[in-house]
């Protein structure tokens, strides 16, 4: 056997024997493809397929249990003339814009506070996360009680403090209802900002701050010229995620008001649900959901470009 092997020894002695697969994988392009394949399959399965399916639904007249036929952009044309849809668009924009500003301001403030050294730091940080940890449906039910027209603890407290004489109709008044859902969203969202920004703050070397202090920079100047620019990339990513989540928010409004009164708190997602599930018009529901896409796409592109610019500076 050994003799045979010796006699059969090929001419190119140095190289070991390779199978066709191994040879293929030696090529970096193929190797990259193989390594990326699992991710691509996952993305295709869980992101691309539902998205394509959504697009497909939105250009048909599909209903629950009926595949439907191609109707082009009819669903979108109908939406453009739908007064409830216009209200939902406006509400969603206001809801997202207002909550994002407040969540960023409060979140940043909280992160800066938590970044200091004090007793019970770990415990406080854990507590701050609570609104984010509790399932939204549960916490929203608690808020629903707090805003209840008859039993509102907020009204009770304000009344006892002598600040109001009548009761405030939190969820019954159209403007107050939108403000109420905004308040709950801010309450729920601030911990996400705070913890993410805190993580960002901790990557900034304290020496930079110290150096600025030695040079005579005041606290505000140190924040504005040292901390903020370094925190900006993290902030942009956090804001990006938050906008996407808030824009597509559903549970909070569904539990708190069901989109009422008279559609005053109707958002894209709640309206899509109402049409798609409540009425069984899957195609129109999909069209409403998909109408969010261009807006979110622009947000993502703008922010990603901004992050790239910051990174290359």
């Amino acid at each position: 056997m050994a003799d045979y092997a010796l006699t059969q020894r090929p001419v190119y002695v140095g190289a070991p024997r390779r199978g066709p697969v191994t040879r293929l994988l030696e090529d970096e392009r193929w190797l990259a493809l193989v390594l990326l394949l699992p991710t691509m399959v996952l993305l295709a399965l869980f992101i691309a397929y539902p998205f394509v399916k959504g697009v497909e639904l939105s250009v048909t007249d599909a209903k629950v249990g009926v595949p439907g036929v191609f109707v082009g952009l009819n669903n979108f044309i109908a939406l453009a003339q739908d007064s409830i849809f216009r209200v939902a668009v406006w509400n969603t924009v206001v809801y997202t814009a207002v909550t994002t500003v407040f969540k960023l301001a409060f979140g940043l403030w909280l992160a800066l506070l938590l970044n200091r050294h004090f007793k019970g730091k770990a415990l406080t940080r854990a507590f701050v996360l609570l609104p984010f940890i509790i399932p939204t449906v549960l916490s929203t039910f608690a808020w629903k009680w707090m805003f209840d027209p008859t039993f509102s603890v907020i009204n009770w407290a304000l009344f006892r403090l002598g600040l109001i004489t009548g009761r405030i109709n939190w969820l019954g008044d159209p403007d107050l209802a939108l403000i109420s859902v905004i308040i709950v969203n801010i309450w729920r969202g601030v911990p996400f900002y705070a913890i993410s920004l805190l993580a960002g703050l901790q990557t900034i070397s304290p020496e930079l701050d110290d150096a600025a202090a030695i040079d005579g920079a005041r606290p505000w100047q140190r924040f504005w010229h040292v901390t903020w620019p370094l925190l900006l990339p993290v902030t942009m990513v956090v804001v990006l995620f938050s906008i996407i989540q808030t824009f597509a928010d559903f549970q909070l409004v569904y539990v708190l008001t069901g989109g009422g009164p008279a559609n005053a708190t109707q958002l894209f997602a709640t309206y899509a649900y109402q049409i798609g599930i409540g009425t069984g018009l899957l195609s129109q529901g999909a069209a409403i959901s998909l109408a969010m896409f261009p807006v979110l796409l622009v947000v993502v592109i703008v922010q990603l470009l901004y992050i790239r610019r910051v990174e290359t500076l």
């Binding site: 629950v64 019954g172 159209p174 409540g278 009425t279 069984g280």
Partner: protein
Amino acid sequence: MARIGRRKLLKLTGVGALAASSGGIAAILAAGRAPAYAQGASVHWLRWNDFIPASDELLKKEIAPAAEKALGFKLNIETINGNDLQARTTAAIQSGSGPDVICGLNNWPQLYPESVVDVSDLAEEIGKAQGGFYEESKVVANDGRKWIAVPWCVLGAMIVYRKSWFAEAGFDKFPETWEQYRDAGKKLKAKGRPIGQTLGHTFGDAPTFTYPYLWSWGGKEVEADSKTVVLDSKAAVDSVKFMTAFWKEGHDEGGLAWDDTGNNRAFLSGTICATLNGASIYLLAKGKPDTYQDEKGKPIFEDLAHAPLPKGPAGQFGYHLPMSNMLMGYSKNQKAAKEFIRWITSKEVYQRWFDSQKGYSVGATTVWEKDKLWDADPVMLPFRAAARAGRFPGYAGTADRKAAEGLSKYLITDMYAKAVQGMPAEDAVKWAHEEFVKIHA
């Protein structure tokens, strides 16, 4: 401390044992079929969580074993939140698997006509044996040619009110017309005891008030052809104008935010004098006399009575929530499932469930009006024949998908909600009219 290795951990946590014994996913894939527990003759019935919990208990603890004995297959009863039923139904139809029988609310069978089995023979058989179905039960479960579901029950909606408070305001009898009711509301609100009515986005108490209210003024969505939208009428505008004033004078303004439980809480805590509801407020108060008491410390239920919605210029109407059992087209046990519907809707078996409801829901057939249950409690009597005055959204047309679209968009409810929030009556009606025109386009 003893070290626990990976293998030991697997052994300790039974996950390893389970994976080892079943051969895991690989074994299932290799066998090419679903694991055994998904097979075998059994019928899966999906319902809402009943507002009368004793009924759910009866179904699960007594009816299910009885079904197994009588029919020879297992009956799985699943109950979920009423608000989630539709999402579950949609998912089941789209994925082609799920409960064999779904007990749907409202006119849901009309939303899924392509996905349910024709049950005409069964429905006709039950209707004939039990004195015929109510019109409202029929319009939601029959598409004009065939039965697409078997009517199950009707949930009566009546005004529950405080007798003593109305008497104090000079109304020994409950107001019979909207004018009288408004007058009562004005007097009672002045005493801090307003009428409570939701105009929020909630599937039960909001539309069951706003639709019959509109009909009683002579307003309607469409003509009998189900196409011509005729909402923008003098009758509708008058009804909105009246409602706006009635709301300010006699109603609790928190009602704009209530869901189906908001008025129950407000009523039981003594903040409102009357509200349109199922019998749940009364039945709950009666069941817990020590918990629910009036301002004098007496059980509140003794002061309660029920009355239908008052009369308007065009008559007196009601909209009571019908429920019907859909036999799902994707079901692999259609024969067994149909047998099950026949069995559970039969007089003997249904009687047990009907008794447990104590009048909260009435039968879908007229025979149940004669039941001895109605002798037990005179306060429940107004529910007995309530379903006779019932109409369904979509009137004067059919209770089709377009009617459901208007209903699930809360167009009629929002027409009134917008007006009480300050929109001129003409504009509110016009807005709702145009929305209906788009639906029927």
